[in-house]
């Protein structure tokens, strides 16, 4: 094939001074070492200096502060209560009970007695003090976990459908997800040197990062594997999605979807969420090559001049899908086959017990907004520790921030069920169809990006919407609702049937019309409004839905058909 002609004025081929300052920062970081070690030792502040904040993201660490008391401390002439959040790299969300118990212990010792399950199937430890970071990282290493590339301009933790029922298929897809994750994890020695205190190794020939080079990716890159018909990972929100194709009960390969992504910026129409486009099919033994090819195209052609346009989705739209496909095939050395048929029915989790085809049992526990701690009503944190102490299978963190107690031998089910009951955990799976399909990001008080509440507010708002639904007899109707504290999209809001993104304390944008199975973007219907306006409009649409929906019609589909919101067919029209 011939070299593809394209505009190279904003990509890696340009000198650093023409690119965003972050590119220089990466180059000058000595493969992510920077001055992190020195910053950790600085005694007059609990923060780290300058660029190290950005570099530490590549190590899975975010510097944050307790925003509830930021202003109070400013008056007290104290610096903000700086803390770090560590995000674990956990491909497919699968972990063992001993890993759970270690996370539990680290959370009790250093992370404010709480764990946070995330929308990308992993754990976040919040409230970590700078002086305890090494202890936490070494504690994770003790159970073969790390936080490499859980943030930063690199391939983030790789997702995989939890699929409790199809045991063999899950095992096969999970193994591929894990291989893709291992393959795409940065290889720099910075991590063991800084966190484990290892000596810097003398290196032989060749670059320290064969795939990433010195400038890594233009921005984050998200990979996920999904097993239809459940689109739990929201494959269309991934930069690179693999949709499992099963024929005659056997996994034959994957449809490849490229260019999905959620993040956008308010008042910046050049930014928008985009659903990944399916460009063809590859055999299952071509997965790693495909990752290399797609990531390589984004690494080499992604926009490195403007970070707000650096995600793969903009590269896809700027270059055109045909060009992108050709560039990928050029690197693969073969043409993709035509995409094969597949269908999604939902992006939610089925709660409660399910039996796998191998006879083992799986219990999916709803964890509201992924927050694991001891609540007044139920000691979730203690209860899950008790389960982990007894459990002999695995756990799976779901993409909806829930938790599967997986691979329970049939004989062990009564014991696990008794534990769940004794700690009151089984009661958590109740609630309305809306609540069971609700999801919020962390936001205040820890996230530095949040402009409004999310995790602490969505349950309150859901109560009020539930009252409206109940009045119309719709309490059990499954409806997806997602909230984020800023427009960046951690809870994948732009594909929910109802979504809210924070603008200011108590103020949100309201979106309607997303697809129930994550197959369609929603659209903004109210901008920067408070709760009364949100409830008033939802009340109107819900009343109409109750009276005029077609049988089986989902709320998001109805909202479009009834004219409450226009359909968004492509990301670039999201802001029209």
């Amino acid at each position: 094939m011939t070299l593809l002609e394209t505009d190279r004025s904003r990509d890696i081929s340009q000198p650093l001074e023409r690119l965003s300052p972050d590119e220089t920062m990466k180059v000058e970081s000595d493969q992510l070492r920077g001055t992190i070690a020195e910053g950790l030792a600085a005694p007059l502040t609990a923060a780290v200096p300058g660029d190290d904040i950005k570099l530490m993201k590549f190590h899975g660490l975010y510097q944050q502060d307790d925003r509830d008391i930021r202003d109070e401390r400013r008056r007290q002439k104290l610096e903000p209560a700086y803390r770090f959040m560590a995000r674990v790299r956990l491909p497919g969300g699968v972990l063992t009970p001993s890993q759970w118990l270690k996370l539990d212990a680290l959370a009790r010792d250093h992370a404010g007695n709480t764990l946070r399950l995330t929308t990308r199937q992993t754990f976040q430890l919040h409230h970590l003090h700078k002086k305890n970071l090494r202890a936490v990282m070494q504690g994770l290493r003790d159970v073969l976990l790390d936080t490499k590339a859980a943030c930063g301009d690199d391939a983030r933790g790789v997702m995989a459908s939890i699929n409790p029922a199809l045991s063999a298929l899950h095992a096969e897809v999970y193994t591929l997800a894990r291989a893709a994750s291992d393959h795409a994890t940065p290889k720099t020695g910075a991590y063991p040197e800084i966190w484990y205190g290892e000596e810097r190794q003398a290196r032989g020939e060749g670059p320290e990062e064969p795939m990433y080079g010195r400038t890594y990716m233009p921005r984050k890159f998200k990979i996920g594997f999904v097993i239809p018909p459940v689109n739990d990972i929201d494959v269309h929100a991934q930069d690179l999605g693999f949709i499992a194709i099963v024929e005659d009960g056997r996994l034959v390969g994957f449809n490849v979807a490229v260019g999905g992504g959620m993040g956008r910026t308010d008042q910046a129409p050049k930014t928008y969420p985009r659903l990944a486009s399916v460009i063809g099919f590859v055999a299952k033994d071509r997965v790693i090559e495909t990752c290399d090819a797609v990531m390589g195209v984004q690494r080499d052609y992604g926009d490195r001049a403007d970070r707000s346009r650096a995600r793969f989705k903009y590269t896809v739209d700027d270059k055109g899908l045909d060009w992108i496909k050709a560039a990928i095939e050029d690197r693969l050395g073969f043409a993709l086959e035509a995409a094969r048929p597949y269908a999604f029915t939902t992006n939610g989790d089925t709660l409660g017990w399910q039996r796998g085809e191998d006879g083992r049992e799986h219990y999916t526990l709803r964890v509201e907004n992924g927050r694991v701690r001891n609540f007044e009503a139920v000691a979730l944190f203690d209860g899950l520790r008790a389960v982990a102490e007894a459990h002999r299978g695995t756990f799976r963190v779901t993409p909806n921030q829930n938790l599967v107690i997986a691979e329970v031998e049939a004989a062990d089910r009564p014991a696990i069920a008794a534990l769940l009951n004794a700690h009151g955990l089984d009661a958590l799976n109740g609630g309305s169809g809306l609540r069971r399909n609700s999801m919020a990001c962390v936001a205040l008080p820890t996230c530095g990006l949040a402009m409004a509440e999310s995790e602490r507010y969505l349950p309150v708002l859901t109560d009020k919407i539930d009252a409206i639904l109940a009045a119309h007899g719709l309490s059990d109707e499954p409806i997806t609702i997602r909230m984020t504290g800023c427009p960046n999209g951690c809870a994948r809001p732009y594909i929910a049937e109802i979504a809210l993104t924070g603008r200011a304390p108590g103020k949100y944008n309201l979106y309607l019309g997303g697809g129930f199975a994550g197959q369609r973007l929603n659209k903004m219907v109210l901008e920067n409004v408070a709760e009364p306006a949100i409830l008033a409009l939802l009340g109107k649409v819900i009343a109409d839905f109750a009276g005029n929906r077609r049988p089986g019609e989902h709320f998001g589909d109805f909202a479009i058909r009834a004219g409450h919101v226009a359909e968004v067919t492509e990301g670039r029209h999201f802001n029209d």
Binding site: T45, A46, L78, H129, R503, K507
Partner: protein, 598 residues
């Protein structure tokens, strides 16, 4: 003015015109500062005395008659970018603007400003960016000075989808006008596409500043006749108003240490770094009530105190010590109550009894009804002022005095008890509270010459005078190096004035800082441990003429630090114990080792 008719040694007519143009526009403080500036220039230029005007001075024609400062409040960087653009344009027009982020700007300087251009972004619902919160708090607060003589204009940035569009810009614009400043140009409010309106405002604002060289010279304000000053001292304290009183210790602290600011405006009081402030407290009204009730007295009983007639209630409130009891009170109460047990108390038993029983406890345990007010008062000591090391520099912050107060609080006989003054600060000294104060000089704790290095060692509230030291050195623009050792219990909650030290370090006012937090780790680390770790450098600083200061607890800190210094000198100076003691003795004699303990 005759002063301005003299055209100087060898100045050309043109140079003299320029100098005179500048001089006539100056405020007295600016003139004073400039005299030092020129003296410094002359010093620097001395080897090349041939130059009549030192190189590096801007050409005379480029000198503006008024100073221009550009301040910005920026959340996302847009405001900062516009401010930079504005500064570039101003420079191109021959002005010499000072460009500063409100976060880094000392708002007390506002009253020195002449022309001020502000670019203010709005964050959330009409609020300024977090980084500018302190600036807004000052300007909108009661401490804001009158700003007559200031000319200003505001460019407001915002997002019209928010309810309080450009709220921060509106607030600052209205507030500056309310403070008496002259608005040069109407505020311009920009939405998210701000380029065009912002460019228009920049042009208009710069034009409104007027021509650069020919700026009309403001007349030198007449020096007001100094009022006949009332002298305030210990016997005639100044009634100072509390203007700020908040805990420095953060949530979860095992103690409470407060920052208190008092207004000295109109007092004529002045002080040097190292001095203390005497504060006359009031007794807790609840304690006064409890004591009167235990005595069965109304408080309306009259008596004579310090030659003036007063009531018992007043005397308990602000004239007498009514917390800890003295042997004299014990004797007096034994007589008044007839309690035999009190009469027999003596020696250690009496000391122990007095430790465990305050006046109120004694009156309750050995009750006597209807005692004579005057007879009772005669057994009580007059209330004494409490002394606090001053934590501010009057050079840096005129008309105010700051204190760092540790709240004394403990349980006794089943009740929570407070120190008299610290308890008042902790519970009964909101804004507008008036406290009689006087300055207590402390000539044994003084900054050395401006260029001498200083090592400051302090624990807890012992750090207070060092805040005054550094404020003073910053205000004077001194060159001397400085090194602070600070100790407290917990990093997160007890790092007193943390952000101020960070700022002093960033600005180079403070050269080094070491901290010890005794309750953060398993092994208790104190300032003397940090000193020991830095033994080589500490000794080197002393050899280079550093002055050494120790402030804090007299029972523990000072002896521990002294022992450590002996060990450092012995090891680093390779001398014996006796020689090390002589070394420190000599430092003390030459006033290079000063101690202020309590």
């Amino acid at each position: 003015m005759t002063l301005l008719e003299f055209n100087g040694p060898g100045l050309s007519e043109e140079q003299w015109k320029a100098v005179r143009g500048v001089a006539t526009a100056l405020k007295p403080q600016q003139a004073l500062w400039l005299s030092g500036y020129f003296a410094g220039l002359a010093d620097a230029a001395r080897p090349e005395a041939a130059h009549a005007v030192p190189a590096g001075l801007p050409p005379a024609a480029g000198l503006s008659a008024r100073t221009l400062t550009i301040l910005y409040a920026s959340e996302t960087g847009n405001g900062a970018g516009l401010a930079r653009r504005l500064a570039d344009r101003a420079r191109a027009a021959g002005l010499d603007p000072l460009l500063a982020d409100m976060a880094d700007y000392k708002p007390r300087r506002l009253k020195e400003e002449q022309d001020l251009l502000i670019v203010a972004s709005t964050h959330g619902e009409g609020a300024p960016p977090t980084s500018a919160a302190g600036f807004f708090e000052f300007v909108e607060g009661r401490k804001a000075p009158r700003l007559e003589g200031l000319r200003y204009a505001v460019l407001a940035l915002g997002d019209s989808t928010y309810e309080f569009f450009c709220g921060a810009g509106r607030r600052i614009d209205d507030r500056l006008a309310a403070l008496g400043a002259e608005r040069l140009r109407d505020r311009v409010e920009c939405d998210v596409d701000y380029d065009e309106p912002a460019a228009g405002w920049i042009d208009a604002a710069l034009a409104a500043l007027g021509p650069v060289a020919g700026a009309a010279a403001a007349p030198v304000p007449a020096v007001p006749a100094a009022p006949v000053a009332t002298v305030h001292d210990r016997t005639n304290p100044f009634p100072a108003i509390v203007i700020e009183n908040l805990p420095l210790t953060g949530r979860g602290s095992s103690k409470e240490t407060r920052h208190v600011e008092l207004s000295l405006e109109g007092s004529g009081l002045t002080f040097a770094p190292g001095d203390a402030l005497g504060v006359m407290p009031r007794n807790d009204p609840a304690l006064v009530e409890a004591l009167l009730s235990a005595l069965g007295l109304s408080g309306g009983e009259t008596l004579e105190l310090k030659g003036a007639e007063t009531t018992l209630g007043r005397a308990f409130g602000e004239g007498l010590e009514i917390t800890a009891a003295t042997p004299r009170f014990l004797e007096r109460w034994a007589e008044l109550s007839g309690a035999a047990a009190l009469k027999d108390l003596a020696g250690d038993a009496r000391s122990a009894f007095l430790r465990e029983n305050h006046v109120i406890d004694i009156v309750r345990r050995y009750p006597a009804r209807g005692v004579d007010a005057a007879a009772l008062a005669a057994g009580l000591r007059p209330l004494q002022p409490r002394l606090y090391s001053i934590a501010s520099s009057v050079t840096a912050i005129p008309d105010e005095v700051h204190l760092t107060v540790s709240t004394v609080r403990y349980d006794l006989n089943g009740e929570e008890r407070f120190g008299v003054a610290s308890g008042q600060f902790s519970r009964h000294a909101g804004p507008e509270t008036v406290l009689p104060v006087h300055v207590q000089e402390n000539p044994r704790f003084r900054l050395p010459a401006d260029d001498a290095p200083i090592i400051m060692i302090g624990a807890g509230t012992g750090v207070a005078p060092y805040r005054a030291f550094l404020q003073e050195r910053e205000a004077r623009g001194t060159a001397g190096r400085s090194w602070l050792f600070f100790g407290e219990r917990n990093f997160d909650s007890d790092f007193l004035y943390q952000t101020e030290w960070q700022g002093f370090l960033k600005d180079g006012v403070l050269s080094r800082m070491n901290v010890a937090f005794s309750r953060d780790g398993a092994d208790r680390t104190y300032v003397q441990h940090r000193l020991m770790e830095e033994a080589r450098d500490v000794y080197a600083w002393l050899e280079e003429g550093a002055h050494l200061y120790v402030c804090g607890d007299g029972a523990k800190l000072a002896p521990d630090v002294h022992r450590t210094l002996l060990a450092i000198v012995e090891a680093q100076g390779r001398c014996g114990k006796a020689a090390a003691a002589d070394y420190l003795g000599a430092l003390q004699e030459s006033r290079r080792y000063q101690i202020d303990v309590y």
